[in-house]
């Protein structure tokens, strides 16, 4: 297992210098058609290698390596030793910076709650409105249906009143 690591370590150390000192990678990538190319090209230094950023990144990595080296080297890397070394940070690291619970509380649960609200809204409000609109003809029909009583007297009465109304209307029109 160590042999592949050793073999791979050499190019790993060199690849950054190789690619960026010759700008080979950036030339290769800049040939990609891009929707943002005009925006990038219009900045002052589109192809610059940002040295301070590289230094910061490398420094952070180096500090981490040094701390880990202090913690591990010279002691057996067993549990209680590391715990004492890390001290109060132990629980923080063990729980992965509590990232999962934070994420769950900040993003997952609210979205699930929102989803539940949306589902309720969909089922009762939106669908409710649709069903209510569908109920309008039914209700109207229910009202109008009352005239179908089956009682001949009512029909006769309606007929007579209709004739009366027509006569009155005609008389009024003819008079005027």
């Amino acid at each position: 297992m160590t042999l592949p690591l050793v073999i791979l370590a050499v190019p790993s150390a060199l690849v950054g210098w190789l690619l960026f000192s010759t700008n080979w990678l950036s030339h290769f990538l800049s040939a990609t058609p891009s929707l943002t190319a005009p925006a990038v090209a219009s900045t002052a230094t589109p192809h610059m290698f940002h040295m301070n950023l590289a230094i910061q990144g490398t420094l952070a990595a180096a500090i981490g390596i040094v701390i880990a080296a202090i913690g591990h080297l010279g002691r057996r890397s067993d549990g209680p030793q590391m715990e004492r070394f890390l001290g109060p940070l132990q629980t923080l690291f063990a729980n992965k910076f509590y990232f999962d619970p934070i994420y769950s509380a900040l993003v997952v649960r609210p979205l699930e709650g929102l989803a539940l609200v949306a589902a309720m809204f969909d089922r009762y409000v939106v669908d409710g409105i649709v069903d209510a609109i569908a109920g309008i003809p039914v209700a109207l029909g229910g009202i109008v249906r009352r005239s179908q009583s089956g009682l001949l007297q009512r029909y006769a009465l309606a007929g007579v009143m209709g004739v009366l109304a027509i006569v009155v209307l005609l008389a009024w029109q003819l008079r005027g």
Binding site: S34, P38, A41, L111, A115, V126, V130
Partner: protein
């Protein structure tokens, strides 16, 4: 075989399912086998025919020139002021949808092979009628035939859902039918208004779509107070019809019910093709004939699209029924298409058009697979399903393929459409709107991207629960058994499909795909991969028609944006105005040769 005129070919393709329906009806007396075999034969013949016609179109000079193909026109009412003809034909806009209809009809027939055992004659006859109607909608070149076929798709589905569906089938069928019908009647009124307007200005009453497009371009409907905002009213009327079909939130509530209660074959056709007819209507009628109204409504509809994405995704998140979850995912995905369409940006419109095909393939595949799961386990409840990967690995593989396609995994078809839509929407938001609208547009575009994440969330969660993890069997169906998450279907009411013939579930619990299920899904899977890996041949045919149909709406939108910038031409406006001019800065489209925007 070049003497075989394309117009006859087209008529033959549309007539084949009708003839097949008659054949299936005649063979009804011979039993289930005869009926379903003849239906499958018809579907295969129609598909091969349609595929051949599509190939002929792609190689034809008309396609290269952007002209309609296979046009046949029968005079119906000609004379005096009337020039009403019934015409059929294909063009770039309809060619892929035409092929998709034929393909999905075969899938629908094959997917119903096993579960439909009661009254199969009626089922397959209706399915074939539906196929003819779908083919006709996309082949129609005049308003009358379009509307006739548009309504004609509703009737077979009404019966398919109402008779062979699941527990709430009656309610689902009625709601689907009336809701869609109400909208499409309003749409027809709008179309008639356009016809009459055109007649009053050109002197002839014609229903031909090409003539109406030219007519409304020459004499646009009024979009002003004196004209009574007629163009907007007609746009809203058409919107009523097409929005219900798409569906655009909040006119979507028929969809979960209809999809869940429909038999699997019905769901395949419903999700795969019928939803696309709504967007097709927008592309064919609203955008070219009512460009100013479209431009005015575009921001709102863009927003509605985004709302649909998020709303559909959120509601899908809490569904316990697998089929209902996929139904809401359909709502969400159609939201992308609406968003892309009303971004009115060439890239986005091309993406939306491709996404029609993509969604047709993936949604049909997902519904087919859910149907297969239901056949095996008699439940769609996610809580009662689990560990299917061990029992049906190939089913799992295909389900994952269609899931990834639906999520938009790069390499599959969904990614191409989604990417184009989002890219075009961001282009519109960044450089194509008035400054006052830029923030809302950007917020909406970013929300749409968030919708992609939501889409992955609910789909992968469902897949993990249903396929992986511990094996969960629903309680055994028997005299006393009843399904927890799904209302019992033990009572075999008249006409409901029985599951008595359980050909799946060998003694070791393995119940992988049968030959007809593989045959149903394989073509879809092939296209999912093909479109995903090489989308250019699929983007090319509709491109010219899309540009033509959206040109006036896009310029109208640009005008609106410019006038909102206090009439001062700014760099953004210059970009927007020059979008159609090839001489200046060329927009990024995948079908034009790749231009790199180098300074």
């Amino acid at each position: 075989m070049n003497g075989f005129s394309p117009a006859t070919h087209l008529l033959l393709v549309i007539a084949t399912p009708l003839i097949g329906a008659v054949v299936a009806w005649v063979l009804g007396g011979r039993g289930l086998s005869a009926v379903r075999q003849s239906a499958a034969m018809t579907a295969v013949i129609t598909l091969m025919n349609a595929g051949w016609l599509v190939l002929r179109y792609l190689q034809s000079p008309e396609a290269a020139a952007g002209e309609p193909y296979a046009v046949s026109s029968a005079p119906w009412l000609v004379g005096g002021i009337f020039d009403v003809r019934l015409s059929l034909g294909l063009d770039g806009l309809s060619i892929w949808l035409f092929g998709l209809s034929a393909l999905l009809s075969l899938t629908a027939v094959l997917v119903s092979w096993n579960p439909i055992r009661e009254k199969p004659v009626g089922f397959y006859v209706l399915l074939l009628l539906l196929e003819a109607a779908m083919l006709g909608v996309f082949a129609a070149r005049d308003v009358i035939l379009f509307y006739v076929f548009f309504e004609f798709t509703l009737v077979p589905l009404f019966f398919l859902i109402g008779i062979w569906g699941h527990d709430e089938r009656r309610r689902a069928a009625v709601k689907f039918f009336i809701y869609t019908l109400a909208g499409s009647v309003l749409a027809f009124l709008g179309l008639l208004t356009i016809v009459l307007w055109n007649a009053s200005h050109t002197g002839t009453v014609t229903f031909d779509i090409a003539s109406l497009t030219a007519g409304t371009a020459a004499h646009p409907l009024p979009m002003s107070r004196e004209g009574g905002w007629l163009q907007m009213i007609v746009f809203l009327a058409l919107f009523a019809g097409f929005a219900v079909k798409v569906p655009i939130v909040p006119f979507h509530t028929w969809l979960p019910l209809a999809h869940v209660e429909a038999p699997t074959g019905g769901s395949v056709d419903l999700a795969g093709v019928l939803l696309k007819i709504g967007i097709y209507g927008f592309l064919r009628f609203s955008l070219p004939m009512l460009p100013d109204a479209t431009a005015a409504a575009a921001p709102w509809l863009f927003g509605l699209g985004v709302v649909g994405i998020l709303y559909g995704a959120l509601v899908a998140l809490v569904q316990t029924d697998l089929k209902r979850l996929i139904a809401y995912s359909s709502v969400s995905h159609m939201g992308y298409i609406v968003m892309g369409l009303f971004a009115l940006e060439p890239v986005a419109v091309e993406g939306a058009n491709l996404q029609l095909i993509n969604h047709g393939l993936s949604a049909a595949g997902l519904f087919a697979l859910v149907g297969m799961i239901y056949e095996r386990f008699h439940t769609r409840s996610i809580a009662n399903l689990g560990g299917i990967a061990t029992k049906a690995p190939w089913l799992t593989v295909l389900f994952m393929l269609f899931t990834f396609s639906s999520i938009g995994l790069p390499g599959l078809n969904g990614f191409v459409g989604e990417f184009l839509i989002l890219a075009g929407s961001f282009q519109r938001a960044w450089a194509g709107v008035a400054p006052s609208l830029r923030t809302p547009y950007l917020i909406m575009a970013v929300s749409a991207v968030a919708g992609v994440v939501l889409g992955a969330w609910y789909m992968l969660w469902a897949v993990e629960r249903v396929f992986f993890g511990g094996s969960r069997e629903p309680p055994r169906q028997g005299a006393t058994g009843h399904d927890h998450g799904h209302a019992a279907h033990g009572h075999n009411t008249h006409g409901q499909n029985t599951h008595g013939h359980d050909t799946h579930g060998g003694s070791d619990g393995r119940c992988d795909l049968e030959w007809y299920e593989v045959a149903a899904l394989a073509p879809l899977a092939v296209f999912v991969l093909w479109i995903g890996l090489t989308p250019a041949p699929f983007l090319a045919p509709p491109a010219a028609m899309l540009r033509a149909n959206t040109r006036s709406a896009t310029t109208a939108f640009a005008e609106r944006m410019r006038t909102e910038e206090d009439l001062a031409p700014s760099p953004e406006a210059a970009h927007v105005v020059d979008r159609d001019q090839p001489a200046s800065r060329k927009p990024f489209t995948l079908t034009s040769e790749l231009t790199l925007d180098r300074p």
